[in-house]
């Protein structure tokens, strides 16, 4: 007779040992079971020792494993305990006990319906966090591929264009192919909005390479995407864990990969396939009544937080594959109330980093991915085909030569023209600044033309310079990239040379007609700065945008308000500058047809 004695071990192997691997590959029934063999997990193990075996000097037999991640507040277990069904309750109890000894909460994420029911009976908090789509390969028709292709036209088109999907072994492919796939994976990761996840969401396509199955799409001989499927040993099913495509791949690449992988897995005798959990899918029925507020919040996030994570789009994507059934997945917390400690534990486990690091990484990633040019591109007029922006940011300087030169000259002039208080030297201001009194007395002489030109490179103080340069670099720079240097230089110099004299003449004439005396102050007012050139370019910039009329109106309105607020009629010269730029752009690129 064999007498079984249960022992627990808190051994926590960093990487799954052979013993754990064998156990998981034998008893793993969760879709994430095998994923727990990735690095980064600790293991809570349960042994059964046999008297006869001990007499013979034999070792203990591993009967249960819980893979988990330790965070400052909680032990976050990856899925259900991997053991025989009758041992699950016992394992959960002991796992929780062990965690409580060191003041930690226990969280199981994601866990099955059966385990959730068990945990509820034990008085734990259970919350439905999403749904898992399952495609039963035993019930789908043999022509499943044709059916899918019929339904998903993007995949059908790609298939018709000659894209093929094949199974491959990463250990057999050439180095060039492997490097190509690595580059696709790296590009894909870079293009993701969210920061890389840890825990069960790690993207490690080449981990457990002997266990996984790989499929790739070849389009005209080139690899454009690949898929890794990880087994669910107990049910002979597969979880399509890594679905990676090149950002330049044509539409339908991932759909075709999934369809072909399903078809090939069916042919190879698999029972079921899952595409992974769709998080925060709206909860219905009785379950909804259990945590009304919690589910209301999760529903709101599902509907409105797609900018943060594609909750809805991922659900819709998976739903396209006509799943056999959607199985709910749960979160179990050993604490009676799901509070800050549990939330922090989950966040730490999911991201694998402290919250400050997560926030900093997310901020810098968003900053690196933010593309002002791409945002502006969306608002460009459809009546003009503009230039394509350079692929590398370093080439922006090459593309915006004039703006680079003008920026450099403005900084250089500023450095030479300021005094110790960082203000423009009075003598420079007096000699090179533009004033109507100075200009009108002598007329169009070389000296005056020089003043008009040089005054545009001078600035009163650092704030004045920084504000003008920001507009120059970002908006005029963008204009130069999309419209070319000729237009920018033309607008800039016409704006600089004509705006001030035209404004002075117009304002003086207007005041004369309405018999108002502006006083000597108006005629002696000195103007410096590159803003006239910049505003002239802004006028041209508006012409390149959709709803240019509205933009021009807002710009002019802003200038008038500004002039009124600072009680400075000379500020209206920006109005003239905008008009000049607009006229130059309209002359060069008339919008003959309304295509917007």
């Amino acid at each position: 007779m064999t007498e079984a004695k249960i022992e627990f071990s808190q051994e926590s192997d960093e990487a799954g040992s052979d013993e754990i691997s064998k156990h998981i590959l034998k008893y793993g029934h969760n879709f994430t079971s095998v994923v727990t063999l990735y690095t980064g997990f600790k293991y809570f193990k349960k042994y059964r020792s046999h008297n006869r075996l001990q007499e013979l000097g034999g070792s203990k037999e591993l009967v249960g494993v819980i893979a988990y991640v330790e965070t400052p507040t909680a032990w976050v277990a990856a899925g259900d305990p991997i053991c025989e069904e009758n041992l699950a309750r016992e394992m959960i109890v002991d796992f929780v006990k062990m965690a409580r000894k060191i003041s930690k909460i226990c969280i199981f994420l994601p866990t099955s319906k059966k385990n959730a029911a068990l945990a509820r009976k034990m008085g734990f908090t259970v919350f439905e966090i999403g749904k898992n789509p399952w495609i039963s390969l035993n019930t789908v028709s043999p022509t499943v591929k044709e059916q899918y292709l019929q339904k998903l036209h993007v995949a059908r088109q790609l298939h018709a264009k000659g894209a093929i999907v094949e199974r491959f072994d990463p250990l057999q492919i050439t180095t060039r192919e492997r490097l190509e796939l690595d580059s696709i994976a790296a590009q894909w990761l870079r293009s993701k909005k969210t920061i890389p996840l840890a825990f069960l969401n790690q993207v490690k396509p080449w981990s457990l390479v002997r266990v996984k199955r790989y499929y790739r799409v070849l389009f005209h001989g080139q690899q454009i995407g690949f898929l890794a499927a990880i087994p669910i040993p107990v049910t002979n099913s597969w979880y399509l864990i890594d679905l990676i495509r090149s950002p330049q791949s044509p539409l339908g690449t991932t759909e075709l990969l999934v369809i072909e992988a399903i078809d090939l897995l069916k042919k190879e005798g698999a029972n079921e396939v899952t595409l992974g959990t769709s998080v925060l899918v709206p909860v219905t029925g009785q379950e909804r009544e259990l945590h009304k507020i919690g589910y209301r919040i999760s529903n709101f996030m599902f509907d409105h937080f797609n900018f943060f994570y594609g909750f809805k789009s991922l659900y819709q994507y998976k739903d396209k594959f006509e799943t056999t059934h959607w199985e709910p997945v749960y979160l179990i917390s050993s604490s009676r109330f799901f509070g800050i400690r549990a939330s922090y534990g989950i966040i730490r486990a999911l991201f694998g980093k402290p919250v400050t690091t997560i926030l900093a990484t997310a901020f810098f990633k968003a900053l690196a991915q933010f593309d002002l040019a791409a945002v502006l591109h969306r608002y460009l007029s459809h009546s003009i085909v503009t230039r394509t922006l350079p692929k590398r940011r370093s080439l922006f300087i090459v593309g915006a030569k004039s703006v680079s030169v003008l920026t450099f000259m403005n900084i250089l002039f500023f450095l030479f023209a300021i005094d110790r208080t960082n203000r423009l030297r009075p003598i420079v201001k007096e000699f090179f600044g533009y004033s109507w009194e100075h200009f009108s007395g002598t007329g169009l002489e070389f000296q005056n033309l020089r003043t008009l030109l040089l005054s545009s490179f001078l600035h009163f103080d650092l704030t004045h310079l920084v504000f003008n340069l920001l507009l120059l670099v970002f908006l005029v720079g963008f204009l130069e990239l999309i419209a070319g240097s000729v237009l920018v230089v033309t607008c800039y110099f016409f704006g600089v040379m004509l705006s001030n004299p035209m404004t002075s003449v117009a304002v003086a004439a207007f005041l004369h007609v309405v018999r108002l005396d502006p006083g000597a102050q108006f005629f002696q007012k000195i103007d410096v700065g590159c803003s006239l050139g910049v505003f002239s370019c802004l006028g041209a910039f508006c012409h390149f945008m959709k709803r240019s009329g509205l933009l021009i109106f807002l710009l002019l309105f802003g200038i008038v308000i500004y002039a009124a607020l600072v009680s400075d009629l000379m500020a209206l010269n920006h109005l003239v500058a905008v008009g000049i730029g607009l006229l130059v752009a309209m002359k060069q690129y008339p919008k003959a047809m309304k295509l917007d």
């Binding site: 264009k161 000659g162 389009f219 005209h220 080139q222 330049q248 044509p250 591109h377 969306r378 460009l380 459809h382 009546s383 003009i384 085909v385 503009t386 230039r387 394509t388 922006l389 350079p390 080439l395 090459v398 593309g399 030569k401 999309i482 419209a483 070319g484 240097s485 390149f544 690129y589 008339p590 919008k591 003959a592 047809m593 295509l595």
Partner: protein, 376 residues
């Protein structure tokens, strides 16, 4: 009409698609992938009328796009416009393309007017490569054509004259000349049922649509069967001096018809639309431009006549319809219009001419019947 766009930027592709739709392309297929574009082209070989290729997309080390365009004879007539970014690094500049077949280059930024002008230039350059005249005639016809070609070298683009004196050798010459055959002349002596049947099919092919065909006779009896397939009808004058003048003029007309074909078709289609919508001013402008490019385009004279009639200018309308009949005596509409507009004394003359040139047209037949009844 299908236009293909190879461009990397989504926004630019969208704008180009809109512009091409405005320019009358029924279907615009675009992609940022060279392979996808090659697929689109190979699926629509006979329908692709324009290829726009952007400089920012690499044609690959094997230049698959250029290779595809060069290898398919169906694309011989399709112009390729290359869109370039002035100040960026281009793939084409990095890997000079020895196979490149670019008909025109367009630099960004540009508006729809510039795109249209570029397409016109590209069509003209493509048409200018079709510099061979094929004559189905005798030795004398060939000699006359060669002499006229030498005489009018400055004003036409013709460089070679091929001739055939049997229907079989004519068919072989069309095959051999291929895309380079820019025009076909047919002498009345060589007219046959076989030839008419062949022309009917040829005129439906992309090559046939773009190839002007002239029949060297205005004799209604001879031209009756071939009438729907020819663009020009000229009578052989008796004297040598007149003969050379006629040949030179014919070659000039055919050259203009070929080189400005796309632009003229576009102008006439626009004018027709404008007349329908009642925009007389724009229609007049379009017709003026069309006639400046090719004053022998009888369709333009017909539209001019219709426009004049609508504006109440009867004299001008009569003049336009008469000019049209001088160029194309087999068109029934000018006869009908002239019979309607001309004075009673002239009406009989036009009915008689119509009975000779368009005897089978039902309306003309009815008019002839009425005239017989009214005359004692």
């Amino acid at each position: 009409m299908v236009a293909i766009i190879l461009e990397e930027n989504n926004h630019t592709r969208l704008v180009l698609t809109k512009m091409l739709s405005v320019l009358g392309y029924e279907s615009v297929l675009s992609s940022s992938h060279i392979d996808e574009v090659c697929f689109y082209i190979s699926q629509n070989l006979n329908r692709v009328k324009l290829i726009l290729s952007a400089s920012s997309v690499d044609d690959g080390p094997d230049f698959p796009l250029s290779r595809l365009v060069i290898q398919n004879r169906e694309l011989d007539l399709t112009p390729m416009v290359y869109i370039q970014n002035e100040s960026h690094f281009y793939s084409q500049a990095r890997h000079p393309n020895p196979l490149s077949r670019i008909d025109d280059t367009l630099t960004k930024p540009f508006i729809v007017k510039d795109l249209k002008a570029s397409i016109v230039r590209a069509h003209q350059r493509r048409a200018a490569l079709r510099n061979t005249i094929l004559i189905l005639g005798n030795q004398l016809h060939r000699e006359n054509a060669i002499e006229a070609m030498y005489d009018s070298q400055d004003s036409t683009h013709w460089k070679e004259v091929l001739s055939a004196d049997t229907f079989e050798s004519f068919k072989a010459a069309v095959l051999k000349g291929g895309f380079r055959v820019g025009s076909i002349l047919i002498a009345p002596e060589f007219l046959s049922h076989q030839l008419v049947a062949w022309l009917r099919l040829f005129r439906r092919s992309p090559h046939g649509i773009e190839t002007p065909i002239a029949f060297l006779s205005q004799d209604p009896g001879l031209a009756h069967e071939i009438r729907p397939h020819c663009d020009l009808f000229v009578s052989d004058p008796k004297t040598v001096a007149l003969k050379m003048g006629m040949w030179r003029q014919l070659l000039l007309n055919l050259s203009r018809r070929l080189l400005h074909g796309w632009q003229l078709r576009d102008l006439l289609a626009t004018a027709k639309d404008k007349i329908k919508s009642g925009d007389v001013g724009s229609a007049k402008k379009n017709l003026k431009q069309a006639l400046a490019l090719d004053s022998t385009r009888w369709e333009a004279h017909e539209l001019e006549g219709i426009l004049a009639e609508k504006s109440g200018k009867t004299e001008a309308a009569i003049e336009s319809f008469k000019t049209e009949l001088g160029l194309q005596p087999f068109a029934p509409l000018p006869y009908l219009k002239l019979i309607q507009l001309a004075s009673v004394s002239d009406r009989d003359r036009f009915i008689t001419s119509a009975a000779v040139y368009c005897p089978h047209h039902p309306q003309i037949q009815a008019l002839i019947g009425q005239a017989k009844v009214s005359r004692p």
